[in-house]
Amino acid sequence: MAYGPKVIDHYEHPRNVGNFGTTADVKTRKDIGVGVVGAPECGDVMQIQIKVDPATGKIDDAKFKCFGCGSAIASSSLATEWIKGMSVDEALQIKNTDIVEELSLPPVKIHCSVLAEDAIRSAISDYKKKNGIAEAKSSQTAAH
């Protein structure tokens, strides 16, 4: 299938690749939130890690890793680019449709954007849990 230019750009020059330490390290760090979504059987696993400044509640830095197709890699790369500098609550406002629009994803690739939204939510939820912050009850889950 043909990919759009923005997908190709993110795929060839992924932003913010990496993590803030080993799985064991980040588990114990309160300023880090980790979200791992998807499954190897489905051909997509996305990991987003956020580093939050406890004083401001802003996402100082974000990293991603992705096992998946070009659209999945681009969606997670774009997600980290967007959430850097946002507060955690702002980051929760990002919708998968925003990613679809920005990357011009075709219908068969919409699940990649859903995963990216889920990964952001999951990372934030991990951060909140570690810090004893109650999660908003109305947090909606994207339809799969």
Binding site: V17, G38, E41, C42, K65, C66, F67, C69, H111
Partner: protein, 413 residues
Amino acid sequence: MLKLPIYLDHAATTPCDPRVVEAMLPYFTEKFGNAGSRNHKFGWEAEAGIDKAREQAASLIGANEKEIIFTSGSTEGNNLAIKGAAEMYEKKPAGSPGGGRGHIITAIHEHKAVLDPCKRLQKEGFDVTFLEPPRDGVITAEAVKAAMRDDTILVTLMWANNELGTINEVPEIGKLCKSRSVLLHTDATQWVGKMPTNVERDNIDLLTWSGHKVYGPKGVGALYVRRRNPRVRLVAQIEGGGQERGYRSGTQNVTGIVGFGAACELCMREMDADGARLLKLRQKMETELTKALDVTQINGHQDRRLPHILNISFGFVEGEGLMMAIKEIACSSGSACTSASLEPSYVLKALGIGDDLAHSSLRLSMGRWTTDEQVDYAIAKITEAVKKLRVLSPLYDMHMEGIDINTIQWAAH
């Protein structure tokens, strides 16, 4: 200078050999006749072209020319062989209460052009056994023997698998079927033209192959139907003017058939040299890739494989993402990220290969014009791409940290 992209998808289709095109050309224009026109030169010329092609096709598989039925390709050939034989040799007529029309044996990793006709017959009252292959993908005569019943009428198994290149024990299965008086059909689309074939020696009753896999044109193929010992009969699936001994009505595709014949003759002459050369290239690819990259596995039996097909999985790297990184190399992936179901290759799954490794697979298939230089380029490019994607892969990190990804509870989505 290396011309890009490089074509390593010959199991999907092959380019038409220029010598084949040359043989076909007169049949588009001056020899355009309908082979069914018995009363003038135009018809006779077309008929002569078909007669020659029938001999060329027959000689490639050790058959008599009267045993060759021209079709539109392997899908049609498989449909005619399987449905045609089932309907002819049924134990009870259609509509009999409780089914019991006869038993058919096939395997779950056959091509859809075999599986779907078998499933259709199952709905129509036949019993079908779908054999499950062992991890190496090879269906043995022993496995077929164990599945045979008193009412078995047909065994249909491919000679070599299209995704893996693995080779079933067809001559041994032929011997078994012969001893039980059960018909054997083999979809030999990937095999014929690449490997020596003799339907007499190997006890094949029905054999399908296709023009575009043997450096001939698309839209033409052949079905071998044994005429002696036993004389096999089929119920025609396409009815009309009675061409091809009534088995396949419709004005013959003279141009295509002439090309098919020419392609068969070239294969006959060149398959040994092509095969030996491609085997070396395949082995080089396997050695170099497994040396350069860890957690890499060659799928299917290690020895019983066609010389030109390599199916390889690179752990922790997703196939479609990988193909994007090697867009200069035209090949296939067992990953099906684009399909709505997100299901990876059913053939790889049939071998018990985990979904994660199935998603991580590439099928590289070489052909008559594949060069050393192209293979070297592919090895370097694939190695670079896998390394790049592993830097991105959270699964590779987990692997390096000693976490077994199979023990993780993944959320379904």
